[in-house]
């Protein structure tokens, strides 16, 4: 049995956990003092050695990303924190920022010092106003306490932090789209190369890291690389937040070493709701191919999940029991991708438009046998051909669900209707009113 390892979440239940005083009472900003006494290059080396990998989904080694910045040319370089948490199923960064915003701010300060940035930005999605309040306050408190601003802790290092609210666009979680958005543009992905490390924000060297990645930095610096590498697996080091949601008895945030299994997590979470069988789940958000109960023992690390045909992603474990219609689930996700496609490239823009129509038709019972093949063909026209990963992500749930539950698609087509009672999967009894409308705007 793997233990839970609350590190990021350790102080969340403290009184006024979001306050600077609470944070410092728990040793907060100690790591910053330590870091400021180190050479920036040694900090980068430490994060490289820790094996910390990007917690925003892609899993790219964080230290290596920092190391990609070209040598200092005396001109600005930037740290941008990706706090645009929007991947369906993902709900780890929001509670982190709501309950422990200083963890992020301290991570920002240490990281900025390591990469030689004097201005960092936290790009928060705009749809969480209280989180924005907490972040703005945390930054203000940190300035007032000398953790930000001029000559931090007497080190001579200066740092400004701007907390920026987005305005509703999933695509801005893609790092180059986020940079365009932060520059006041439509959040559409940029061509790579040049990569952000070379030409990022304002065409200057830029590191873009996820909230959880940056929030992990103080503990790595404070407790040491070995402490961190003792957790996790060979190539997936450290701890991470696993977010369980859906038909589980006790949904929520479980911070554990990478490599823990869903079976273990489910046990801590009290099993599935009403003891019903697990039908399918996403290991890392809606853009990762679906798993079933066959994968209960797959270690949740980058390599094992990849080898099993999906992706660890953001460790957003959405669990669905046998009352759930997979066609309905996949249709709704596809409508999401259609809604959030930025429109830049043909495959994603037109492909998601088409997929949504086919799926809606099948779900409504108007599909044909040819439609299933058409779904797969259209997915093929998107996968690997779209401009960015959003298009690829849109195909994951379709291709994996057709593979795993083809018979369910066929049932919809043959019966001319959805064979499921949607109310059975809800947490409450439906009203006796007419059947729910399904069309998504």
């Amino acid at each position: 049995m793997t233990d839970l390892t609350p590190v990021l979440s350790a102080t969340w239940d403290a009184e006024q956990s979001w306050k600077l005083s609470t944070y410092t009472d728990h040793g907060g900003y100690g790591a910053l003092t330590k870091a400021l006494g180190m050479e920036p290059a040694d900090l980068i080396a430490a994060v490289k050695d820790s094996g910390l990998r990007g917690r925003g989904g892609a899993g790219f080694p964080t230290g290596m990303k920092w190391g990609f910045l070209p040598p200092d040319d005396g001109l600005p370089r930037y740290l941008v924190v990706n706090a645009d948490e929007s991947e369906p199923g993902t709900c780890k960064d929001i509670p982190t920022m709501l309950s422990a915003p200083h963890l992020l701010v301290e991570g920002v300060a240490i990281t900025s010092y390591a990469i030689g940035s004097n201005h960092a930005f936290i790009y928060l999605r705009g749809e969480v106003v209280h989180v924005y309040r907490r972040l703005m306050q945390a930054v203000r408190e940190a300035y007032e306490a000398g953790h930000l601003g001029k000559d931090i802790h007497g080190s001579g290092f200066d740092l400004d932090v701007t907390v920026h609210a987005g305005a509703g666009a999933y695509i801005c979680g893609e790092e180059t789209a986020l940079l365009d958005s932060l520059e006041g543009r439509r959040g559409q992905p940029r061509l790579k190369p040049p990569f952000p490390a070379v030409e990022g924000l304002y065409a200057r060297p830029t590191v873009v890291n996820n909230v959880e990645s940056i929030a992990s930095v103080p503990s790595i610096v404070g407790k040491g690389v070995e402490w961190f590498t003792a957790m996790g697996t060979e190539r997936s080091k450290g701890m991470g937040l696993f977010s369980l949601s859906g038909h589980v008895a006790k949904p929520g945030q479980y911070e554990a070493p990478l490599g823990i299994t869903l079976r273990e997590l489910l046990e801590m979470a009290g099993g599935m709701r009403n003891g019903r069988p697990l039908k399918f789940w996403t290991p890392g958000g809606s853009s990762t191919p679906l798993f079933t109960d066959e994968h209960l023992d797959t270690p949740l690390d980058y390599e094992s999940v990849g080898a099993a045909g999906s992706m660890l992603g953001t460790r957003a474990l959405q669990l669905f029991d046998d009352t759930t219609c997979v066609v309905r689930a996949v249709t709704r996700w596809t409508e999401f991708y259609k809604h959030e496609s930025c429109g830049k490239c043909t495959p994603c823009r037109e492909g998601t438009f088409w997929l949504a129509q086919i799926l809606e038709r099948i779900e409504d019972g108007h599909g044909t046998d040819a439609d299933i093949q058409q779904l797969l063909d259209t997915c093929e026209s998107i996968l690997g051909r779209a401009f960015c990963a959003l298009g690829d992500g849109a195909t994951s749930c379709i291709t994996s669900s057709v593979k795993l539950f083809r018979d369910e698609y066929e049932q919809h087509i043959q019966q001319g209707a959805c064979p499921f009672d949607h109310s059975a999967s809800a947490l409450f009894d439906y009203d006796s009113a007419p059947a729910p409308e399904e069309a998504h705007a």
């Binding site: 439509r186 495959p347 998601t352 088409w354 086919i358 038709r361 259209t378 093929e380 051909r385």
Partner: protein, 836 residues
Amino acid sequence: MTSTADKATAETVDTVTLTIDGKETTVPKGTLIIRAAEQVGIDIPRFCDHPLLAPAGACRQCLVDVAAPDREGNVRAFPKPQASCTMQAMDGMIVNTQHTSDEAKNAQEGVMELLLINHPLDCPVCDKGGECPLQNQALSHGRSESRFIDVKRVFEKPLPLSSEILLDRERCVLCQRCTRFSKEIAGDAFIDLQNRGAMQQIGTFDEDVLGFDGYEPIGVAAEDESGRAFSSYYSGNTVQICPVGALTSAAYRFRSRPFDLVSSPGISEHDSSGAAIRTDHRRGTILRRLSDNDPVVNEEWITDKDRFAFSWQNLSDRLERPLVRGDDGELHEASWPDAIARAAEGLKAAAGLTGTPADKKAKGVGVLPGGRITMEDAYAYQKFARVALGTNDVDVRTRTASDEEQEFLGSTVAGSGMGVTFADLEKAPTVLLAGFEPEDEGGVVFLRLRKAYGTQRVLTVAPFLSRGAEKLDATLIQAVPGGEAAALASIKGAADAAESLQAEGSVIIVGERLAGSPGALSEALRLAKRTGARLAWIPRRAGERGAVEAGALPGLLPGGRDATAASARDAIAKAWGVDSLPESPGRNAAEIIAAAASGTLSGLVIGGVTPSDLTDDLAAALARTDFVVSLEVRRTDVARYADVVLPVAPPSEKPGTFVNWEGRLRGFATAIRTDAISDHRALDFLGRELGADLKVGTVADVNEQLALLGAAGKSERVKAPSVKAGKARKAAGDELVLASWHLLVDEGALQDGEPYLAGTGRTAVARLSPATAERIGVKDGVVTLTAGGRGTIELPVALTDMADGVVWVPAKSPGSWVAQELGVHPGALVRVKGGI
């Protein structure tokens, strides 16, 4: 400075060698795969890619299979197909296109299918049908039947982005060529992507289209910058580069099928840039004009005037036969021989060449060709004047002009060959503009300067920063009209502008308006000398430089020779096989008109001059003149006073040469064969009838002579001007100094008959500084300008950050015909009053 020049010559280009579909090719480092493929004759389908625009990678049609060496040198295939329009070629790269890779072919077919699901497939009624990249590629690479059986995206159509540019959104493939052109090339971001995802579309900020509540009018002065209309001077280029039929022009929509058209290359007659155009015509009628690709001049871009203003030559007032004034006082159609005979007879009498006692009363003939003629025509006019009529009274400068300017042109411009080029402008570290607005007066010159945006410093001597200058991020050296010379003189020593101009390759551009500012051209020469910057004269009209070369100025003979120098006259006389050339100094255009008006001239030969463009009352002068011969394309106001009207061909119906401002010969052939003849041929007839064989009957005849004459020797040259810097007039009371220039799209005669183009013109406003407006008590937003001319101008006021004591109005925009109504040139004082 010299050492860097040496280095430049030794510069070598880094290259990379790659293999595309089994063909090895070597290209400069940084070349995109799609370009490298073109070089070995492999066509990769594409929509968003355009060689002059930054890569977008949006349409994904050009996906190819790529393998490239990794750090260890092992060639490894990319896991997924790559967009060849965004990926640079690398040494050792192996590219397989749709011709050799199933993966690439599948990917391209997949993208094509997706592009078509929402496309209306309305090719039979689409203007682009027959020349449409989407149609062509769908036919060659697409499926024969669509598998899409659902509901297509539909939009209301067409959506007018301006009076000229229409958008059919459902045809659009969102390649962003139009928006990238508008932003990157023209600097007019009036259109952009709107909405998101499947509902993404191109558009302006249109409240109705985008569903915004609460529109409030933004006001006249802001209208042009508001983005409400797609009012870019270069908007037509978006139609040409649209790879589908989404953008069309109101002028051409539903007029023709491309395969019914005959295409002829040509040169635009609208400005001195000499932009290469393609004229598409059907059965003798021009249906449209497009930009031709000429990398050294206009690249692939032209102005909307170049593109859309061609109707003028086929309006109902087009002359087809000569007209002769009969005894009844009316003009009657006549045969060419009769008309020539009648014209010769009248001119003989007026010039005193009849050999009768009446010759004593003859006061001579003046010749006024307009500035829009070809070099061959200009040559014929001046030779006709000097040989057939025995006078130096010939001048194309029916605009503000001066002796100083003639000296400047004779000493510095004429016979100087190619000087500063478009490429030089692009490379120049600093460009100083004086009396010249590149966007309004220079056409594609503006685009070249803008191409250097970010790397080039632009300085402009002007009363305010025009929108065009703002788009060049220009620094204003403020000058009141008339005060340009002093402003130029102040650029010296440690002045920031002087230091900038000393950077090697810097250029000073002077416009024709400087002729109206005493001492300005002299100062420009001095400035060039003390900074080492090169000097370029960029006139507005297409024929000006050619006329300077051909000697169609009173004091200039062909090749820049000084008409007052005996040696120069002798040389020309000898070459022309005549005894001598007239010695008496010629009069300039204004003086010729003044002489005619005062009855001291007996005859006028006039070609292509629009009376309303002149500050002088040409009509009164013509009325006073005994005998007037007019050579024109359309029956204009001049014909009302003419005794003989000879119809001549517009540029599309004749061959000839425009010399652009660079000094580059821009020869063109006849696009549409008609029986219309060139001015020079008509003058050749007329010369013969007058007993002079001018040998100007064909383009070849003229060019042969010009080649033989060559440029003036040093001793035959006009001396450079050295005129003391003049001073700007002082504004006092309600009298303000007039500033004015022609906007690119205005009511010039060559834009007649094109309402869609006219609709994209900028709103005419009177610009005043806030302080001046307050001083003269402008309250109700409208001012009236008077200057003792033939009328008044009333325009809404636009408060502008500009020199005090100055009022700016457009030279010939709706409601603002400055020359005609005010009768003065910029620099003069005009009375400005609030209210109507």
